[in-house]
């Protein structure tokens, strides 16, 4: 249990933070903007594929065929001259052009349809081709009145499909807690030292453990409050759903906060100036932004990077939080992440207590 002094000092730190409106605003502003932008950018279904159709045939069959394509929600069809559509394809306004030959009618056997694509622009060509083929086959069947032998019925087993925002939220939470924690211990300590506050405290009977405990208590409350605001915004405004247990989710948040506070104490003890702590801090923060699977899954990174990325503290924290939020995982089922978090917990704590020596840090 924290002592009376520790609680009082923590309440003073909390007060200092709460009175600093500007930094509260900015620490909430960034994640909220991020979430909102991604919720708009990614709200709809897959966009229909833009297909230009050049109808060189005067037959009714060709016109009906084009009409069937237009009616298909998978395609956004423009009918026009080959010359114009080719230009549009090069401009990137069309994804592909389908050319119906002159001989395209019910009597023709195996008329050749020509498909023009700009391969450089169509990364998903492999995905579109089977889709197109499938559609052509079903259209053909309709013309020839053949009953299909099989039909595929797709059923969505998840009540709701996962949006990018659902993926992003836990990572963004983990990132925010890292920022708040490292700033709370590391950057603050350097600032207190510069002002001579640490020295002033050191000539009073306060022990380093009182000081550290107070900062941890205050920051823990700040992180919990800020993340709760962000989660509430995500859940109530952006309709993000957290499937797992909130208690598990918050325990990971608290463990992560503790790890990054300890790492912050290490930074603050090593770096002697504000510039130095910024530089060293960025060295810790930046690689983790890109490597810890916050914005995209670690699995999509180059294979060479993955082993490094996976053992970063933020990776363990964000993966655990994502498993709980997106898949409703229990603490037991995310053992590997928990073990990683535990190892970092011990490493960070031991390092911090070794490096944060009152006499050294204060002077």
């Amino acid at each position: 249990m924290p002592t009376k002094l520790q609680r009082h000092l923590a309440s003073v730190f909390l007060k200092i933070f709460l009175r600093d409106r500007q930094s509260i605003f900015f620490s909430l502003f960034f994640p909220i903007i991020f979430m909102t932008v991604f919720s708009f950018a990614n709200s709809g279904q897959q966009d229909p594929i833009k297909v230009g159709v050049v109808n060189n045939s005067a037959s009714i069959v060709a016109t009906d065929f084009a009409q069937l394509l237009i009616d298909n929600p998978l395609f956004d069809v423009t009918i026009g001259e080959e010359e114009r559509l080719r230009n549009e394809l090069i401009e990137g306004d069309q994804t592909m052009i389908l050319i119906l030959p002159e001989s395209f009618d019910a009597q023709s056997e195996g008329a050749e349809l020509q498909l023009l694509v700009d391969a450089a622009q169509v990364q998903q060509l492999g995905l579109i081709m089977p889709l197109l083929q499938q559609t052509l086959i079903s259209i053909e069947r309709e013309f020839r009145n053949i009953e299909p032998m099989f039909s595929l019925v797709v059923e969505d087993v998840q009540a709701r499909s996962q949006r990018y925002l659902d993926f992003l939220l836990p990572g963004l939470m983990a990132f925010t807690l890292m920022q708040l924690s490292i700033a709370g211990s590391g950057f603050n300590i350097v600032e207190f030292r510069r002002k001579g506050i640490l020295k002033r405290l050191f000539v009073t009977p306060i022990q380093p453990k009182d000081f550290i405990t107070s900062i941890v208590l205050a920051r823990m409350s700040i992180v919990l409050i800020q993340l709760t605001v962000l989660i509430a915004f995500a859940v109530f405004v952006l309709d993000v759903r957290i499937l797992g247990n909130f208690l598990s989710f918050y325990s990971i948040i608290m463990l992560g906060t503790f790890i990054f506070l300890c790492l912050g104490f290490c930074l603050g003890s090593i770096a002697k100036t504000q510039q130095a702590v910024m530089a060293v801090g960025n060295l810790v923060i930046f690689p983790q932004i890109f490597l810890s699977g916050i914005f995209y899954p670690i699995e999509s990174m180059p294979a060479l990077m993955q082993p490094i990325a996976k053992v970063l503290p933020l990776s363990f924290v964000s993966t655990a939080m994502r498993e709980i939020a997106n898949n409703g995982a229990s603490l037991l089922s995310i053992m590997p992440s928990l073990i990683g978090i535990a190892v970092w917990f011990v490493v960070a704590f031991v390092l911090a207590t070794r490096l944060f020596v009152w006499k050294e840090v204060a002077n």
Partner: protein
């Protein structure tokens, strides 16, 4: 009775440009400061004044010799010493966004005391600034507030490191009155200063330090009699500044 007993105190650092050589910031000084006196430590920049105070306050390690405050060994029991001393440092900045009253209450808690913040502010003439933030204070007010912070534990010894540096004459006189008033209540006060008038006005005894050593120690009057070069035209002896220059020379220090 001496409340501070210092014997052969040593502080050494490796030279910045030559790590194998050591530099003595304080080289074997001995002091005996009586309970209830105002004791001044004078010296050019780099003489070792602040280093000496910081060793007595437990801020830095003592590399040699002994220091006792009120019978407590500073090296062995730094936390016991911290309970009975009050310290005003040269840097006097505090946490942002916290009022004077809140800061004083916080300092009280550091000594596990519930204090009467208004009463303390009244003592240093800052009662009307109770709700102000330290950043809103003038230089003189800041120094008085620093002293208020140093008084939260009713210290037996008050250390003041250059308390009037940078203050205008009014603020300086005001601070002197405060120091004399506290001393009148029986508090032992140890201060460093560059202001000779201050040393002469406030201090019952003075030690002059140079190159980490005490070069002279006595009452201001005795020092003037012994060391001040007698100006040929002046009917009286010189002042403490003449003593200071006679003992430490005219060379500029950095």
């Amino acid at each position: 009775m001496a409340i501070i007993e210092v014997e052969n105190l040593v502080k050494k650092y490796p030279l910045p440009d030559n790590k194998s050589e050591t530099f003595f910031a304080v080289e074997g000084i001995s002091l005996s400061i009586e309970a209830g006196e105002i004791y001044g430590i004078l010296g050019p920049n780099g003489a070792g004044k602040t280093t000496t105070l910081e060793m007595l306050e437990g801020l830095i390690d003592i590399d040699g010799g002994t220091a006792f405050i009120d019978g407590i060994d500073v090296s062995a029991n730094p936390y016991k010493v911290k309970e009975i001393i009050g310290v005003q440092l040269q840097a006097n900045e505090y946490f942002d966004n916290v009022s004077l009253v809140e800061l004083l209450i916080l300092f009280g808690k550091l000594y596990s005391r519930e204090i009467d913040a208004e009463n303390l502010l009244n003592k240093v003439n800052l009662l009307d600034k109770a709700k102000a933030k330290p950043d809103d204070l003038s230089g003189g007010q800041k120094q008085r507030f620093s002293i208020a912070c140093a008084l939260v534990n009713d210290p037996k010894v008050l250390f003041l490191d250059e308390p009037t540096t940078g203050l205008d004459p009014q603020a300086k006189r005001n601070l002197w009155d405060l120091v004399l008033e506290l001393n009148g209540l029986g508090m032992t006060i140890v201060l460093t200063t560059h202001n000779m008038e201050e040393a002469e006005t406030l201090c019952q005894r003075i030690a002059i330090m140079d190159h980490g050593k005490v070069v002279a120690e006595d009452t201001p009057q005795e020092l003037i009699l012994k060391h001040a070069a007698e100006p040929p035209t002046a009917p009286l002896h010189g002042n403490i500044e003449d003593v200071f220059l006679a003992l430490t020379g005219h060379g500029l220090r950095d």
